[in-house]
């Protein structure tokens, strides 16, 4: 356990040293928040109620789909995997430590948005803060399960980049975070339900119920199952 704890803390530090990961975890989501937060709240004063969940959904989706899988593809698609295997580091460990590190980084970004939005844009804080943070944690968990599956399934960064967009763009466009999902045609609105973002956004804005929680748990479970299957196929154990 101490070995895994050391690896998780180390991964957190490695992420801080990785420029690409920092861009997708912090820089781009926060710059987007500063621009779009200003635009949305100026155009529509009603957006002050929803700017925090909307920008948080964007930040988490971006980090989980475009950032978190990158170190995994770099590791499992390269000779590093073999180096870890001969060094007796179990193959689940890098994936799990990357998950935990990304969780902490993206939770911090969500907290930054939560803290900065009221003074910058006169945004309203969520009425039930603990519930909001719990929902955010569940959203993060669900998105990172999918992000981890992406990182395990694709061995080259070019393929990963293409497929990650297939998850990221619908998450943002169909979730209702940038414009109300009610304006979308039914097929697109239903397609949005395949991604954690639409369920989480409804929960974060106080509209979703147990159905949304169950959907997020189901998505997480399916993604975790895929991760486990993929890791076992990659031959994570020494056979000697």
């Amino acid at each position: 356990m101490t070995a895994f704890f050391y690896q998780a803390v180390l991964q957190w530090k490695l992420d801080l040293r990785n420029r690409d990961v920092l861009l997708t975890y912090y820089l781009v989501p926060l710059v987007f928040f500063l621009f779009m937060g200003g635009i949305l709240t100026s155009l529509d004063p009603g957006a002050k109620e929803t700017v925090i969940p909307a920008m948080s959904v964007f930040a988490v989706s971006m980090g989980a789909f475009l950032g978190a899988p990158v170190p995994l593809t770099a590791l499992y698609g390269s000779e590093t995997k073999k180096a870890y295997q001969v060094g007796r580091i179990p193959l689940w460990a890098p994936a799990a430590s990357n998950f935990l590190s990304a969780f902490v980084h993206l939770f911090l970004v969500s907290l930054l948005i939560l803290l900065l939005a009221p003074p910058l844009f006169d945004a309203s804080l969520p009425p039930h803060l603990p519930l909001y943070l719990g929902t955010m944690a569940l959203f993060l968990f669900s998105c990172l399960c999918l992000g981890t599956a992406l990182g395990l399934f694709f061995q080259t960064s070019s393929r990963l980049t293409m497929v990650a967009q297939v998850f990221f763009l619908p998450s943002i466009m169909l979730s209702g975070a940038l414009f109300p999902a009610a304006f979308l045609p039914d097929p697109l609105r239903l397609a949005g339900r395949l991604f954690p973002a639409s369920w989480s956004y409804s929960l974060l804005t106080g509209e979703g119920g147990w159905q949304a929680i169950a959907a997020l748990l189901l998505i997480s479970l399916v993604a975790l199952g895929l991760c486990g299957w993929r890791l076992s196929k990659r031959g994570g154990l020494l056979t000697r």
């Binding site: 070995a3 050391y6 770099a74 000779e79 001969v86 179990p90 460990a93 031959g235």
Partner: protein, 290 residues
């Protein structure tokens, strides 16, 4: 009598229709250094990976007594990890102790806080060797350990290998550097077409098949090789006629006499004794001609 550090019996591996390993067996005793040699495609990497456990074997038995350390031919680590962090990470998962003496010898401390991506090829190889030495393994696999190392790095590695041997560590080495093999190894295992074609000491390999010396002779006009008795014409290379002889003095005498009697001027003459590399090439060529 020293104990076996590694016993491999009848190791078989097949990729689809292709049988890559056809019953490879080898034994390595404590403190022994063995080289696994063979031409490209002979099955060296597959054999090593099956023994290491990176690949599943179809049949056969692999027994390793004690801890195994492995340095792969091509290996990498996360780009931003620092050498000390990598050593600590591997050490914690292994539950063993770091070999500080070996790390000092390999110059790991001097690498400082540089990230892995900023290390040179030689520095990376030294770091991977230090990782393989975590927990003081009783058996070590080194795949092309000196590739990319400078002269100093090579010397440090050879000193390290000597130290490990003294400690009783058995080492299985895959290398293309025959001088290194000749200098370091007690045993040579030569793979050919997925089988062990030779297993024995370097001196035993040198005595196998045709021995003696090679005479390279540069003359203005070719000599009539059919008349030779104590040496044999084997071909031409860069303007030199190549002759193989079992008895150097007789071969030289005959060639020079023949040249003088034919009135041919000898422009240059070189003598080379057969090296381990020549023997290895002979084996490889035998494979190609089969």
């Amino acid at each position: 009598m020293s104990k076996s550090a590694l016993t491999v019996q009848n190791l078989c591996k097949r990729y689809g229709e292709k049988e890559v390993l056809k019953g490879v067996s080898l034994t390595l005793k404590e403190g022994e250094i063995a080289a696994l040699l063979g031409p490209n495609g002979a099955g060296k990497t597959t054999a090593l990976e099956c023994i290491e456990g990176l690949r599943t074997r179809d049949s056969g038995r692999v027994e390793i007594s004690g801890r195994l350390g492995v340095q792969l031919q091509s290996s990498s680590l996360p780009a931003t990890i620092r050498p000390q962090e990598a050593l600590e990470l591997f050490c914690r998962w292994n539950g063993g102790e770091r070999d500080r003496e070996a790390e000092a010898e390999l110059g790991i401390d001097a690498l400082g806080k540089r990230p892995y991506r900023a290390l040179s090829t030689g520095q990376k190889r030294r770091l991977h060797l230090a990782l393989a030495l975590i927990g003081r393994p009783s058996l070590l696999f080194l795949d092309e350990p000196t590739a990319g190392l400078d002269v100093e790095g090579r010397a440090a590695l050879h000193r390290q290998i000597g130290r490990l041997k003294e400690r009783g560590c058995a080492i299985l080495l895959a290398s293309h550097d025959m001088a290194e093999v000749e200098r370091l190894c007690d045993q040579i295992v030569l793979l050919k077409g997925g089988r062990v074609a030779f297993s024995g000491s370097p001196s035993e390999l040198l005595c196998q098949g045709e021995t003696g010396a090679q005479i390279s002779l540069k003359t203005g006009v070719p000599l009539d090789a059919a008349a030779l008795k104590s040496c044999r014409f084997t071909g031409e290379h860069q303007g030199y006629a190549l002759y193989r002889t079992q008895q150097l003095d007789e071969g030289l005498w005959e060639l020079l006499s023949l040249a003088r009697s034919a009135g041919v001027r000898v422009e240059d003459l070189r003598v080379e004794h057969q090296s381990l590399e020549d023997r290895f090439l002979d084996f490889a060529q035998q494979e190609e001609t089969k």
